[in-house]
């Protein structure tokens, strides 16, 4: 058996169906939500249509306009459902008319003038603040990213049933809160967009610096976040922070291949072989940052972080990095989005710009404030600065403490390596 894709085996066809789904699912679910007025129902219908495709396409081949096929099947299922419940209202007749009138197999199953806004509405629903963070992530990856529950579960190292439960519960919460299929009003727009960007960045970071487990990075997850960011940049091109986030992710991804050894051990920024950074990706980052600036509404927290990442990306080495500029950018970022993490990063930048003693004073201030206590970050940075000041015994204690506190095995290895590099303690 040969399909149009050339896939000859069942597994190959399943992968093709998955590929089609990734490409089409957001537009399909958005279209169905618009015509049914019910996101939860729309998602169910889309999944049922996908199940039909998985059954029929291996036998009949992948249709030329797969998106239209899936949408039509889902609409028919909507009609059947309503007919069974005898709810033949206006929505029913609208869809029924729609199905009858569409005879052109090459026509898009959605209105090209509305589809972008509909997908944007879908993104806002999936990232709605009534949902828990895990639920927003799962729902976004599933309906916007077109990932299966199994793929999401694998990426987040949780059982598939957990992801399925999160999605079912999320849909109930959205229904209970009567969340509308709409772009948020002006007064809540910024906060709602912030939630969307937060979800995307969370997914990115889960891949970039895996918070648990033995893998330092799960690049596929970061790649998906970057793709979602690029999608959003086209849906909301007048929002500078969307471009800021894309820029940040591009810069960080550009270092992926320099960030781990062949054995999977992490390599820290200062030790990375910069010739292995992806230059094309750095340029995409700079382009995205320029787009953020071109909107003319100043830089938000993501754009500022991107600007900091840009400083590293264009520097030939740690020593030739514009640390003064990075200090200033962290100061601005700290005023805009105060956080002890930003303060800590600023302290590191100050140490690079003016010497470890000044940096250490700032770190000690953060420690005295009680912020970040119990995390590995504070002792990790303190240990590093103490080592540079030649206070090796104290450095050893701090770095060992950091190793004890981190949840990432790979990172623990790096920290213990630093302890070992300090040599044995004085007798």
């Amino acid at each position: 058996m040969t399909t149009e894709t050339g896939a000859t085996d069942a597994a190959g066809i399943r992968r093709s169906v998955a590929a089609v789904w990734r490409m089409e699912s957001a537009r399909i679910v958005a279209t169905l939500t618009r015509v049914t007025g019910d996101f939860s129902l729309a998602e169910d219908l889309a999944q049922e249509a996908l199940a039909d495709a998985l059954e029929q396409w291996p036998r009949d081949g992948i249709p030329r306009n797969a998106g239209a096929w899936l949408t039509a099947v889902a609409k028919r299922k909507a009609i059947d459902g309503w007919r069974r419940r005898e709810r033949l209202d206006d929505r029913y007749s609208a869809i029924a008319h729609d199905l009858e009138s569409r005879i052109d197999p090459d026509a898009a199953p959605w209105d090209p003038d509305d589809i972008d806004d509909d997908v944007l509405r879908l993104v806002f629903i999936a990232c709605h603040p009534v949902l828990a963070r895990e639920a927003r992530v799962a729902l976004t990856l599933r309906v916007v990213g077109g990932l299966s529950s199994e793929e999401i579960a694998r990426a987040f190292l949780v059982p598939t049933a957990t992801v399925q439960q999160r999605i079912v519960r999320a849909k109930k919460s959205l229904a209970a809160a009567k969340v509308q299929f709409e772009v948020p009003s002006r007064d809540e727009y910024a906060a709602r967009l912030g939630s969307v960007l937060g979800v995307i960045y969370l997914v990115f970071n889960e891949g970039y610096a895996a918070s648990s487990g033995t893998e330092w990075m799960r690049p596929e997850l970061s790649q998906e976040a970057l793709r979602l960011g690029r999608v959003l940049a086209e849906l909301a091109p007048r929002e500078p922070e969307v471009h800021g986030l894309v820029a940040l992710m591009e810069f960080q991804t550009s270092r992926f291949r320099a960030r781990v050894t062949a054995e999977g051990e992490p390599i820290l920024l200062g030790d990375q072989d910069r010739s292995r950074w992806d230059r094309a990706q750095i340029i995409r980052g700079r382009t995205a940052l320029a787009r953020a600036d071109a909107v003319g509404r100043g830089r938000g927290a993501y754009a500022l972080q991107a600007a900091i990442a840009e400083c590293h990306s264009v520097a030939p080495s740690t020593d030739e990095t514009d640390w003064d500029r990075i200090v200033v950018l962290y100061e601005v970022l700290g005023r805009l989005a105060p956080s002890p993490i930003v303060d800590l990063n600023r302290a590191v930048a100050v140490a690079m710009a003016t010497g470890p003693a000044t940096g250490l004073r700032l770190v000690d201030e953060i420690a005295a404030s009680g912020a970040l206590s119990g995390t590995h970050l504070l002792p990790s940075v303190r240990g590093e600065l103490l080592a540079r000041l030649g206070r090796l015994d104290e450095a050893r204690v701090e770095l060992s403490e950091a190793a004890r506190l981190t949840g990432n095995e790979r990172e623990r290895g790096v920290l213990l390596g630093k302890v070992a590099a300090l040599g044995p303690p004085d007798a």
């Binding site: 894709t5 797969a66 690029r230």
Partner: protein, 141 residues
Amino acid sequence: MKYMLIMRGTDEAYDAYKAMPFEEVIAAMGRYNEELIKAGVLLAGEGLTDASEGFVVDFASETPLVTDGPYGETKELFNGFWILEVSSKEEAAEWAKKVPLGPGSFIEVRRVTEMSDFPQDNEFVQREAEFRAANDPTFKL
């Protein structure tokens, strides 16, 4: 993973295109490119001018010979390319199937090599990496 979609056309495809209104051809390609951008998968892409503006360097003899053509036995000319970042080979295939082309046209789909495809201790691989680090990429949008 990155894939290059390479557009190739025969004389048949060329003649068909010449018969179509230019605006229509541009609009169809424009819509396709826009779809790639909106899907977040397009990294780079360029179209090439008519082959009559190009030339061929032939390595058949000891001294490479520059000729106006012919372009060899294959009558399929390379007219342009896209580089896409996708999650699977199958996704690259699905995007290739959507290119607005007709009979006589082909899209050849090839995976773009990554640094990890080469032995990293090779001197020339390292030099290339340094070159890439020092130079802007040739490919741009």
